[in-house]
Subunit: 141 residues, 2 copies
DNA sequence: CTTAATTCCTACTGGAATACTAGGAATTAT
DNA sequence: ATAATTCCTAGTATTCCAGTAGGAATTAAG
């Protein structure tokens, strides 16, 4: 029941990005240094985030990344899903029909857990995080 | 962010046990057959559950397992913790001091998630599960 | 007192997932 | 042209987890 380090590092990097470069382009190298993450690793993380339309990019020299939409519309849920695939506590939840479906009585538990977790994670946006925890300009590493 | 199969199988087996043998001793072999789990695997699961005082046992011929306390006092949280160690979404939550502690601003997010998940899982007991989903005598497999 | 049934405990193995690295193609500002 | 950057795929190494194995200890029953 642990998050992947990709997920948590994505949060770390995006928080710093929201804090310091909310409206500027920032390169992988710069943000990686700032967040104490290997540039190559962060690159891979940003590859997913871009695919899922959380960030956009400009290629070439003086290129970089920026947010694809307002911080108020980027939730923790969206970020984590991009890196983890889905946030379901058991695989069977999104299967149309699992082999035990007819008799499974534990599924409702996992379903309830999933629903509450999603609600919570959707309710936390990058904007809110910056407001709550970004009051000085120290970055996370 | 997935539960281990040990955790979900523990739930499965304990649910069946609560349903059919609430006050009797039941052997690993019988319960394993019923729940469609390998006996040796279930044995290992029950080893943890016993260590954490969720079930007790009687050794020797005609021995077996039974609950260590009333079903109303056995929560999903307790069961899962026994198998998964802890339910924290990131390792650092229970560390006295993680290397990033001074500057980490994402920790509050994981903390909030953790708290809500615990609340939910603590609120679901085996007693409640049997009441809600155990109305006929079919076992789970 | 022997046997069979059972829990108890530790260790092992194979496979899957994850963390992280590598390398080079494509793009673009200067 | 060159340097800086994103883009994309593939690879490796490690860690974790599922599941197995084997035998010691205990106990009921004949």
């Amino acid at each position: 029941m642990k998050l992947s380090t990709k997920g948590t590092n994505a949060m770390l990097a995006l928080f710093n990005m929201a804090l310091i470069y909310p409206n500027k382009l920032v390169s992988i190298n710069e943000l990686a240094m700032l967040s104490n993450i290997s540039p190559k690793y962060l690159e891979q993380i940003f590859y997913s985030l871009k695919r899922d339309n959380i960030i956009t990019s400009k290629r070439g020299a003086a290129g970089g990344y920026s947010f694809a939409k307002p911080l108020s519309r980027i939730s923790v849920y969206e970020i984590l899903c991009s890196l983890e695939g889905t946030m379901e506590p058991v695989k069977c939840l999104n299967e149309v029909e699992c082999s035990r479906a007819q008799v499974c009585r534990t599924k409702p538990i996992w379903n309830a857990m999933h629903t509450k977790m999603i609600m919570l994670m959707k309710s936390i946006t990058l904007e809110q995080l910056v407001k709550d925890y970004g009051d000085n300009n120290e970055t996370i590493n």
